[in-house]
């Protein structure tokens, strides 16, 4: 898994490539990276999953932990460009009820400005 970060309009975007799974993860996990941005005062986080082929239970845990940490500080965490297959799994497991998932990242970025 490869994670690159960039910032657009006060939103930290994590461009993730590969698989978010236990065996693929680095020593610094996605949640650690999100938390480090939160500690620096960033409050809006966008996970761009365009390059993500698969997520295992570890990956789901990381995304949910990142969501909880962000939300607890009054921030927002959103997901974009998620594959149809993953979206189906997210829907079946009701994760779509909790996570704010957008079809494209531009729309997700715009939505950060809305209350």
């Amino acid at each position: 898994m490869l994670i690159k970060t960039r910032e657009v309009n006060n939103v930290v975007i994590f461009d993730i490539e590969g698989e978010i799974r236990r065996s693929e993860s680095m020593q610094t996990t996605l949640h650690h990276q999100v938390k480090s941005h939160l500690d620096r005062g960033r409050r809006n986080v966008l996970l761009n999953l365009e390059g993500v082929e698969f997520i295992d239970s570890f990956g789901v845990g990381e995304i949910l932990a990142s969501y909880i940490s962000t939300q607890n500080l009054g921030g927002k965490l959103k997901l974009c460009e998620i594959s149809k297959k993953l979206l189906l799994i997210f829907q079946i497991t009701m994760l779509t009820k909790v996570l704010d998932i957008h079809e494209d990242c531009a729309g997700a970025l715009e939505s950060f400005d809305k209350p």
């Binding site: 065996s23 500690d39 005062g41 909880i68 009054g74 799994i89 497991t93 909790v98």
Partner: protein, 850 residues
């Protein structure tokens, strides 16, 4: 005056912030001029009433006001709802100016008519021919009309002032600035009554001609209120649009105002409280008049005494207000401030049964003076504060109705009670002491009612305040728990992943899923349960069976209860245990990761005999995090104490940390001491120690909470965030757990102190300092949930952080109400919106107090 200098000057009287200074000054000036006028008119009214009416007819003035004020309320409410606020207030002031000129003319003619009887003079116009004659014929009627008009003037002017305050300032600002306004009012009263007393004493002007001074004062008041609204318009233009209800709203009449109160329990209680206070005031006033009339038979002596009495009240009110009102409100809050007046008046009124004839004047002056002083100072401030949480759309209707109708009705009720008692008990033939004691019994009854209603109003107050504070975001963990079955979700992802890895593992996972839940058709489709072509690829490695089509009718088979119980029986077979025990020993040493994963997974279903547990122990130390994760799943089923050190070690690995936390939490209560030892062991890696509070939070026992608090008291910087997070989680999920105040409070103060340090090091915080401050404030609020209602604290935090200015101020009011005095004094400089310089000053002051 420059805003900075003006702010510093006004800060001597109240907590005024830069942008509020001009509006606060104009409003104080407005109130000064109103009360200036009021304290000229009131002694004139008293003088006329005492001079021209008998003691038995005094109640008629109050009764007339009580009966007629309703019509004024109705008319005023209509005007208020139809006219823009600025025009409405200006029009009413101009109306009062006109009335004062008319009354001056009437009393001028009336006083002259006492000397010579007017006759019809046909040299003037018809109106001016007959008017003096009509005034002469009317006898004392103009005095009662003037008395009624005075009551209307006082009620309308004061109501208008507080409406203007509500238009310009929000609740929290109002609470800070109320001291300044009351000061303005008191100084106005002193100036007005001093001027009136001096002029009359020095015989510079007659009482009637004092009425000509008032229109001039009111013209200045008109100018002042227009400056207030002009300033507000300017502020709104620069600050952007946060709409304030300064325009006329929907048309609401007298009946709607009454209904607004009738429908709202809080307003009903508020009206009843104020009414009981007014009845008490009215009855005490009759006690006062009775004594004064008896002791001062001479009109001049009596009038001078009344002037001096009012002046004394105002001077004392000013002194008491400046010295105590703000302090009582800040230190004890509304709750105790509400009780001050009725409690002290009760003590004073009961003492009537101990007073002798010689001490009557002193006693009645103290009680009547006390009532008026409280009314001018703390009771007035608290009364206005009690309106603050009422929604704006009904506040105006209710306030007008209560201030003008309910109050006057209550005064009338007091007058009616005095009138009834006067006749029933035949006061004409009783001694002064007996009369005062009989009235005193009624006073005590209404004081008790006042105290009871005060408690009832306060009980409602926080709930009314909280209606305006809503959560800005929901608790994310609760949202996840509410919508997502975490265990099933993780199993689904594991199952999908395992399909690519091993058919055996896949079937194991499917079997586990089916055992737990009825799977939805879409999920079965997603997991491939409906497909028949799946083959056993790795089962052979475990059970030494050949490959081939496996379970063509998987869907039907796997959900069959008989099939499930057969599987359970196989796991329980002694021969299976024996064979698998040996086989597991070989598999855990296998090079195949898939084999080891399957073994780790299958252990969860096996009987925990020594060989199985040994295998599990080895698997928990496997180099593959995938294997370890499945082994942790099995460990959470068997929950053996000997595995805990191994699991603790896995907390250091980010790949297995989450699962290790879940596993240890599954052990539940009973392992808290082991976790505590690890938490305190400096030999453990910091990352392991930092993961333990979350486990204790999930276990969530009283013992867990005690351990976490004990650790927090050690003040280890690297553990602070995790400990506070964990304590907050226990608080929000386990309401039965108690947190010892004596342990929490010092840590709370310590955390606030850390916020001070950050701020004092960076008075203008850069991004890094701001982020550190944000996290510090979050921890402070999280910790406060342990001592105060968690939902209230969370709402206050969210609205201070992200709410509108109004909801932020409501939140501060809520905290002001909830927190104890010292904590408030220490916390507020950290969370209030303040200029840096001001914040530094307040922090330094708070630190000195601490």
């Amino acid at each position: 005056m420059a805003t900075g200098r003006l702010e510093r000057f006004l800060n001597r009287f109240a907590d005024v912030r830069g942008h509020e200074a001009h509006a606060a000054l104009y409003l104080s000036g407005f109130f000064f001029l109103i009360t200036f006028t009021f304290y000229i008119i009131k002694p004139v009214k008293e003088s006329f009433l005492i001079g021209f009416a008998s003691a038995a007819s005094w109640p008629y003035a109050d009764l007339a006001t009580a009966l007629l004020i309703g019509f004024v309320v109705a008319l005023n409410t209509r005007l208020l709802n139809r006219l823009p606020r600025r025009i409405y207030i200006s029009a009413i002031i101009l109306f009062f100016i006109g009335c004062l000129l008319a009354f001056w003319y009437v009393f001028d003619v009336y006083q002259k008519s006492q000397v010579s009887t007017p006759v019809a003079d046909s040299s003037g116009g018809i109106f001016f021919v007959w008017l003096p004659l009509a005034i002469f014929k009317a006898g004392t009627v103009p005095v009662f009309v003037f008395s009624f008009w005075t009551d209307v003037f006082i009620a309308l002017s004061v109501t208008q002032f507080w409406i203007a305050v509500n238009d310009v300032f929000d609740p929290y600002q109002g609470k800070r600035l109320v001291g300044l306004f009351v000061t303005g009012g008191l100084f106005g009263g002193i100036a007005g009554s001093s001027l009136a007393a001096l002029m009359v004493y020095a015989k510079l002007i007659s009482a009637g001609n004092l009425l000509l001074v008032c229109p001039v004062i009111l013209l200045f008041a008109l100018m002042m209120v227009n400056l207030v609204y002009a300033e507000q318009k300017k502020l709104k233009e620069t600050a952007g649009a946060e709409a304030d209800p300064v325009q006329a709203g929907a048309r609401v009449g007298y009946w709607e105002s009454f209904l607004a109160i009738k429908r709202n329990r809080y307003l009903r209680l508020l009206a009843a409280t104020l009414a009981s206070a007014m009845v008490v005031g009215s009855l005490i006033n009759f006690q006062f008049k009775f004594v004064v009339k008896s002791i001062f038979p001479n009109t001049n002596d009596r009038t001078l005494f009344v002037f001096m009495f009012y002046l004394g009240i105002l001077v004392l009110s000013t002194f008491i207000h400046l010295a105590t009102t703000g302090r009582i409100l800040r230190s004890f809050g509304i709750r105790w401030a509400l009780l001050v007046a009725p409690a002290l008046l009760l003590a004073g009124s009961l003492s009537v049964f101990l007073v002798s004839l010689g001490g009557l004047l002193a006693w009645v002056s103290i009680v009547r003076g006390g009532d008026k002083i409280f009314d001018n100072t703390i009771s007035q401030s608290v009364r206005e504060l009690l309106y603050i949480p009422v929604p704006a759309d009904i506040k105006y209707k209710a306030k007008m109705f209560i201030d003008m109708f309910v109050n006057k009705f209550a005064t009338g009720l007091g007058a009616g009670l005095y009138w009834g008692l006067y006749r029933l008990s035949d006061f004409d033939h009783k001694g002064d002491v007996a009369v005062l004691r009989e009235i005193g019994i009624l006073v005590v009854v209404f004081l008790c009612l006042w105290i009871a209603l005060t408690r009832a109003v306060y009980a409602e107050y926080p709930a009314v305040l909280k209606k305006d504070i809503r959560r800005k975001w929901s608790d994310p963990e609760k949202a996840v728990l509410q919508h997502v079955d975490m265990e099933q979700t993780l199993n689904i992802f594991n199952t999908i992943q395992s399909r690519e890895r091993s058919t055996t593992l896949y079937y194991m996972n499917v079997f586990n899923l089916v055992r737990r839940n009825d799977l939805a058709p879409e999920l079965k489709e997603l997991l491939g349960i409906k497909r028949d072509e799946l083959k056993a690829r790795s089962m052979d490695s475990l059970l030494d069976v050949g490959g081939g089509v496996f379970f063509p009718g998987l869907e039907e088979t796997i959900v069959d209860a008989e099939f499930q119980s057969e599987i359970d029986l196989i796991f329980l077979l002694p021969s299976y245990q024996e064979i698998m025990g040996k086989r597991l020993g070989e598999i855990v040493g296998s090079d195949s990761e898939v084999d080891r994963i399957e073994a780790a997974n299958s252990i969860s279903r096996m009987v925990p005999n020594p060989s199985t547990l040994r295998s599990l122990e080895r698997l928990l130390q496997d180099p593959s995090s995938e294997v370890v994760t499945y082994a942790l799943g099995s460990a959470s089923v068997h929950r053996r104490v000997e595995h805990i050190p191994l699991i603790l070690r896995l907390l250091a690995n980010p790949m297995t940390s989450q699962e290790a936390q879940r596993t240890l939490a599954a052990y539940g209560s009973g392992i808290e001491d082991l976790l505590k030892s690890a938490l305190e062991d400096d030999g453990e890696p910091p990352v392991v120690r930092r993961a333990i509070p979350e486990i204790l939070a999930r276990i969530g026992t009283q013992k867990s909470a005690d351990i976490l608090l004990d650790q927090l008291a050690r003040r280890r910087e690297d553990m602070e965030m995790e400990l506070v997070d964990a304590l907050y989680k226990i608080r929000s999920s386990r309401p039965e757990v108690r947190f010892r105040r004596k342990l929490v409070r010092p840590e709370l103060v310590f955390l606030i102190g850390k916020g001070y340090e950050i701020f004092l090091d960076h008075p203008v915080p850069d991004a890094e300092a701001k982020a550190a401050l944000d996290l510090n404030v979050k921890r402070v609020f999280d910790l406060m949930t342990l001592l105060y209602p968690a939902e209230d604290i969370v709402k206050a935090y969210q609205n201070i952080l992200q709410g509108t200015r109004k909801s932020g101020d409501y939140s501060l009011s809520l905290l002001d109400d909830l927190l104890d005095r010292e904590l408030k004094a220490f916390l507020f400089p950290l969370i209030e919106v303040l200029p840096s310089e001001e914040r530094v000053l307040r922090m330094k002051k708070a630190m000195r107090l601490k």
